[in-house]
């Protein structure tokens, strides 16, 4: 079969026309006002804080539809850290962006799937305003919370601020550019309290911000509070980002490669801080990284992604001591070690298939050294190895044992 590299103008226009239709329909759906009942749902397992179920996130480009996340399902249990690993472009960041609904529209859209999240939202009246049930000793109103399960994928965009920052917060990989350069740190930190704490005053917001800066180990909180982002180092900015993420005691923190842009000593400090906070905070962490060392140190569960799909998941012990999928095995092997005398680092041969024309069979087939006849067929199902360990590979199907 001759491989086609270039599209003609006519083909591009045809694709663009089709995409526009699908894109606009999804975009319209995204902004449509809906009653709360339409995005309320129930959890499959009460111990989970987040359940991602068959999530499909597409990018509509003029070359075709890129299925960046292609049927991903995994759970994040309460008070646990779930690490998501995979190479660049495997869809781990897009998964987290989908959870936050931060995809760049109109090209990026959640096409289907459910993201069930157990939120602890304020009790609200008919207008959607929180109901105060009394005041504390300082005269600040107290708001009662109730547990609600939202399907984030179906939530309209004008309700999404209930989730963002308050329930789920995010730490980005680029601390250097993730803070607004024209506002002081204090201004940006206070904002989080103002948005999510009804009845917050200037003083209470500042007190909270300083407390948060203290919590993340910033030595002179008062000085940092009045600084502009460009006056701080990368590590300091990442600490500020973390304090911003923690400001409203979120139930889930998504850390999208929080240490990638930092140098090694600062990396260690930030990881130390995150691990420390994990003990203190009442929530879960979704840790996205391509650094297996970070995963081994931080995570309880690991999800391995490849080309937009989950190919293996399990506890950190299972993934590191008993990797099953040939890709996970390759990933483990390509980690540099001190013991090895070899001059070259192991790498998995070949390339990820073109995301626009994904094959029908296993996406890893061309690069896999353990291929069997069945690999040319359907994409493999998730196979249960233990209660927590799952792998998507034909090698482990019944009757296929070597």
């Amino acid at each position: 079969m001759a491989e086609k590299h270039y599209l003609t103008g006519k083909e591009i226009r045809k694709i663009a026309k089709e995409n526009k239709k699908a894109m606009m329909a999804l975009e319209k759906e995204k902004w449509k006002k809906k009653p709360e009942s339409e995005f309320l749902t129930t959890m499959k397992d009460e111990n989970n804080i987040l359940e991602i179920d068959n999530l499909n996130t597409y990018f509509f480009t003029d070359q075709g539809v890129v299925k960046a996340v292609n049927g991903v399902s995994f759970n994040i249990p309460l008070h646990k850290t779930v690490g998501i690993v995979g190479e660049s472009g495997c869809g781990k960041s897009v998964t987290s962006m989908s959870v936050m609904r931060l995809l760049q529209g109109p090209q990026g859209q959640i096409a289907s799937g459910e993201i069930r999240f157990k939120a602890s939202d304020y009790k609200r009246d008919a207008k959607g305003n929180p109901i105060a049930t009394g005041t504390d000793e300082n005269g600040n109103p107290i708001y009662e919370t109730e547990e609600k399960i939202y399907d984030i994928a179906k939530m309209p965009m004008n309700e999404i601020h209930r989730i963002r920052g308050r329930q789920i917060s995010m730490i980005f990989q680029e601390p250097m550019t993730s803070l607004n350069p024209v506002f002081t740190i204090g201004n940006q930190l206070d904002e989080v309290t103002f948005i999510h704490q009804p009845g917050a005053t200037k003083e209470s917001a500042k007190a909270k911000s300083l407390e948060m800066l203290n919590l993340v180990g910033i030595a002179a909180p008062e000085r940092v509070y009045n600084s502009y982002p460009h006056e701080l180092s990368g590590g300091m900015r990442q600490r500020v980002m973390i304090s911003m993420a923690l400001a409203c005691d979120p139930r889930l923190i998504i850390a999208d490669e929080p240490t990638t842009a930092l140098d090694v000593t600062i990396q260690a400090q930030i990881l130390e801080l995150l691990r420390d906070l994990k003990e203190k905070m009442d929530g879960s962490i979704m840790l996205i990284t391509h650094d297996l060392g970070v995963i081994a140190e931080m995570a309880d569960y690991v999800v391995v992604m490849y080309a937009g799909r989950v190919i293996e998941m399990g506890t950190v012990r299972e993934i590191f001591h008993n990797p099953m999928h040939p890709y996970t095995i390759g990933l483990q092997k390509s980690k540099p070690t001190m013991q090895s005398d070899s001059d070259t680092l192991f790498n998995i041969p070949g390339n990820v298939p073109n995301p626009i024309n994904m094959p029908k069979h296993c996406f890893f087939k061309e690069r896999c050294d353990k291929c069997i006849k069945k690999c040319g067929g359907e994409y493999p199902q998730m196979i249960k190895i233990s209660d927590t360990h799952f792998v998507a590979c034909h090698l482990y199907e019944e009757g296929e044992n070597e």
Binding site: M157, N158, G165, F172, T177, L179, N180, P181, E191
Partner: protein, 330 residues
């Protein structure tokens, strides 16, 4: 800060000296000469002007020596007078240059100021909408209208508006700045000014919105794609606040800077538009002086603009430091 401003002003004197030298040299290189024009006009009736009179006139205006040395001497002479704050007397208008500028600047300034205010008031919201609704019908409509605005030449578009509103509909007077047939006072006078200035201002606004709107749209798009906007959204801010607080504040940086750069254009007058509507503005006067090779006036007018440009750039830098905390002046 004060030290910085003083340093910049000191530098400005050097820049202005350079500018004046270049302008003077260029004017003296022009193929037209005020005297030749005048002689030609005088001899049109068939009269012959004796060579002696011509030489006397040249001497009177200081143009007798066309050699390199003569030009340099002329420049030094002009500079000497400038030190005494004397810009000389306009050849064409026969009154001091400063007086011509003073008398005609008001009209141009009024037109330019009102037009600029409207330009910003219309272009910025349009640019923001076009950026926040990128590739939507709204974006395309705004962009197409604005491109039409950019592409139309002012002499054509001005003439067109004049034809429609003044000639066909008769809503506004076609030219001039005041109705000479009546003597008006107070509110009626102001109203008459407004009626005369309406179409010129409309022309300038429509033609200049395009550039400003494109600039706002581009900046806004760039800012909207930046990481800190994602952070602002992730914090749970509502989209309105994300755009009008976090994004707009950053989009303002280049806009405020360009505002200071507009300083010279506020005073320079719209040369072509003023011609079309026969407004007695400074642009109109400058054009006529240019055609007549009126050396003192061209020098005075251009030096005035050069000074405003230098101040404008300085103001832009100061404003830049004011809106962007990352910029430190030293």
């Amino acid at each position: 800060m004060l030290k910085y401003i003083l340093k910049r002003l000191g530098l400005a004197i050097l820049i202005l000296l350079g500018v004046s030298l270049i302008i003077y040299t260029l004017i003296r290189c022009m193929p037209v000469s005020f005297i030749d024009d005048k002689i030609a006009q005088l001899s049109q009736g068939g009269a012959t002007i004796p060579e002696e009179t011509v030489q006397n006139m040249k001497k009177l205006y200081g143009l007798e020596d066309d050699s390199f040395k003569g030009i340099i001497m002329g420049y030094l002479n002009w500079l000497k007078n400038l030190c005494k704050f004397d810009f000389g007397t306009s050849f064409k208008y026969g009154v001091p240059v400063t007086q011509v500028i003073k008398e005609h600047m008001g009209v141009s300034f009024a037109v330019a100021l009102i037009a600029t205010i409207f330009e910003f008031m219309i272009a910025i919201p349009l640019g923001v909408t076009a950026a926040t609704h990128q590739y939507s019908i709204r974006d395309y409509v705004v962009t197409i209208l604005v491109m039409i605005g950019i592409s139309l030449p002012s002499f054509f578009f001005g003439q067109l508006l004049k034809d429609i509103f003044a000639m066909k509909l008769g809503w506004f007077p076609p030219s001039g700045i005041l109705d000479g047939t009546q003597s008006l006072t107070g509110g009626a006078l102001l109203l008459d000014y407004a009626r005369h200035m309406f179409i010129p201002i409309l022309t300038v606004v429509i033609l200049s919105i395009g550039g400003r709107m494109r600039m706002t749209r581009t900046n806004m798009l760039e800012v909207l794609n930046s990481d800190y906007i994602r952070t602002a959204r992730a914090k749970g801010l509502k989209e309105k606040k994300v755009i009008y607080k976090h994004a707009f504040r950053n989009t303002l940086i280049p806009l405020v800077t360009s505002l200071a750069g507009l300083l010279p254009s506020l005073f320079s007058g719209a040369i072509i538009t003023e011609q079309v509507f026969d407004l007695p503005g400074i642009g109109n006067k400058a054009f006529q002086a240019m055609v007549a090779a009126d050396i003192p006036f061209i020098m005075g007018y251009n030096m005035f603009l050069a000074l405003l440009s230098v101040i404008g750039v300085l103001l832009a830098d100061l404003m830049y430091a004011w809106v962007d905390p990352r910029v430190k002046l030293s």
